[in-house]
Amino acid sequence: MAAVEVKNLVKKYGSLDAVKGISFSISEGEIFGLIGPNGAGKTTTLRVLSTLLSINGGSVTIHGYDLSKQAAEIRKLISYLPEDAGAYKNLSGRAYLQFIANFFDPKDTKTMVQKGIEITDLGARIDDRVDTYSKGMMRRLLVGRALMTNPKLAILDEPTSGLDVINAQEIRKLVKSTAYSGTTVLLSSHNMLEVEFLCDRIALISEGKIIETGKPTTLMQKYQARNIEEVFVRTVS
């Protein structure tokens, strides 16, 4: 059974068609990347799969649950990291992780929070208030929050957005190791290098439509390109 099955997904904002009937599937434990320019429909697709937005057409199934009818069940399995997410500024990093953990397993939050603290790698700063964190520290906290819950599907929108090279690399390693431990990952990114390094398969999306799907290496061979950036330019043109 596929972890994610998207068939002819349509999402409209009023008269604007943000997603125009896209289809893809993701296997369990796979890292799947949605690649495309701004306004292509990546974030909308991720928001739909995160149960935040309703759909106007098609169907989405996550681990056998129908998104339109069983959103509450899906929320128990997923973890969503929005691109520009924030945390509650009056809480410390630890208190924030504890707050999130309470929603999952109130009886044993200790292990979950400990895992979150390890992922964030914030040291003693984990007990400082969130509003004193730098952008990089905030992103690490949020990644820790997203991955500590052992989700069956992690939906990460630009996971390394705004991070410096070293921090970004750390996060990529984390995502990779999370997938090895069985979590399915769906991510979006502008960074083609990141995509090549991280993703088992990718879907190139432009103007609400998927124009190509496949393994990065296969696509590079098919379009005789040196990298995914070139593949993207050729498919779009």
Partner: protein, 426 residues
């Protein structure tokens, strides 16, 4: 374009939003309605008071008093026997009058013997608000005018050297009838004054809680959006109802604490203005029982829940902290309007439009509850509780529905029925 012009143009464009203007327009309309109704009340107070007159004395001083009453008041009942008092009260009540004035048999004789002549006034109290005593105030003036005229006459006749008697040849014995109850020795003004000072606390507490807790809820929603935490919250395994209820409960607790602190200060402030009129309301059974306090508490709790769910609904429209501040304005007005109405007027005597408006605002009910319970008006209290309960349920359901739609994140909502209607029309 100059720098100043450019910035001014940009600021105006940013501020010129429906969220800025709609609340102000709604509040302006509410005030216009209230103003028109209160104008009617003022016009009514300038009319001569409608009274009944019973006189068992037909001599000189009584005749003088009667002339003043007949000239300056509209008498709808006249009799020469106190045995007709009940009929008189009924007739005056039917004509929306204020009192039956009774001049006893020995009125002239007593004054002639340098003893104060008694005028008995049987007041028909319409409401307990300060504004309800306007019409009875006119009759108070007339009775003082009778006293002054008799005093003037006695001085002119040089009949007495007793200065205190000459200056005050009449005394008044008052009995007030209100809601099938009789209050001997007390005037409507005294009752209204005492009740106003006693029942001012609840409207003030309610107003403070709503403004404070409401502001907390609206701001909390705005901050969830501004700090980008809402999206994460909505993807967590927690029911939308729990999110909505949790926010309401937290705001209610904080609002309550803030209101208690505020009221502790206010109590000392009010103590400075307290005046004793020498009337113990317990003598007239005008005190609240433990059961009454429970009713008020329940009404207050429901109104708070209703108010906060309304704030949640408004908060879902807030895009950021700035727009949240604009949205707290209608809530503030909704708390202030019933507070002023309940302090200055009685629900029973309000013009219909203001009555409907007051009943429709959920915060009015705990404010009105204490006075209503003092006079055993359980219908208003229980009716209010039922209305506020239904209001809260509907509002919470709408908020939960909004939380389930795209509205919170995208600012749009799918109204399938509206689309279908449009398709049918065009």
């Amino acid at each position: 374009m100059s720098g100043l012009g450019n910035i001014t143009k940009k600021e105006i464009r940013e501020l010129l939003t429906p969220a800025t203007f709609i609340p102000i327009i709604v509040v302006a309309l509410i005030f216009a309605t209230m103003g028109t109704s209160i104008q009617g009340l003022q016009e009514q107070s300038s009319d001569p008071p409608v009274i009944g007159i019973i006189t068992e004395d037909t001599s000189e001083y009584s005749a003088m008093a009667l002339t003043i009453l007949h000239t300056n008041a509209k008498s709808v009942f006249n009799s020469t026997s106190i045995a007709d008092l009940q009929n008189g009260l009924e007739t005056v009540k039917q004509h929306d009058g204020v009192a039956v004035v009774f001049i006893p048999k020995n009125f002239t004789d007593r004054i002639s013997q340098e003893e104060q002549g008694t005028i008995e006034v049987y007041w028909i109290m319409k409401g307990t608000g300060i504004m309800d005593s306007i019409s009875s105030g006119t009759l108070h003036l007339l009775l003082s005018y009778i006293n002054t005229n008799l005093s003037k006459h006695l001085i002119e006749q040089n009949t007495s050297v007793n200065a205190s008697f000459v200056l005050s040849p009449t005394n008044r014995v008052e009995t007030t009838f209100y809601k099938n109850r009789q209050f001997p020795g007390i005037s409507p003004n005294t009752i209204a004054g005492m009740l106003a000072s006693q029942s001012m606390l609840i409207p003030l507490v309610m107003m403070m809680i709503i403004i404070m807790a409401g502001g907390i809820v609206i701001t909390s929603m705005a901050l969830e959006k501004e700090n980008k935490t809402l999206e994460t919250l909505l993807t967590l395994p927690v029911k939308r109802t729990s999110i909505v209820t949790g926010k309401i409960i937290a705001a209610a607790v904080i609002g309550l604490i803030l209101a208690v602190i505020y009221m502790m200060g206010m109590q000392f402030y009010f103590k400075g203005f307290e005046l004793s009129v020498g009337v113990n309301l317990a003598t007239y059974d005008l005190v609240l029982t433990t059961a009454d306090f429970l009713w008020i508490g329940f009404s207050l709790f429901l109104a708070l829940i209703a108010g906060l769910s309304l704030c949640m609904l408004l908060g879902s429209f807030a895009k950021n902290y700035k727009s949240a501040q604009t949205l707290t304005f209608p809530i503030t007005m909704l708390a202030l309007i019933p507070m002023f109405i309940t302090i200055f007027a009685d629900f029973d005597t309000l013009p219909l439009a203001v009555k409907v408006l007051t009943f429709a605002i959920p915060f009015s009910h705990p404010m009105m509850a204490s006075r209503a319970l003092l006079f055993d008006d359980y219908l208003l209290v229980i009716g209010g509780i039922v209305y506020v309960g239904i209001f809260a349920l509907i509002t919470i359901s709408i908020v939960v529905w909004v939380f389930k739609t795209d509205r919170l994140l995208t600012g749009t909502t799918k109204f399938k029925w509206l689309k279908a209607l449009k398709r049918r029309r065009f």
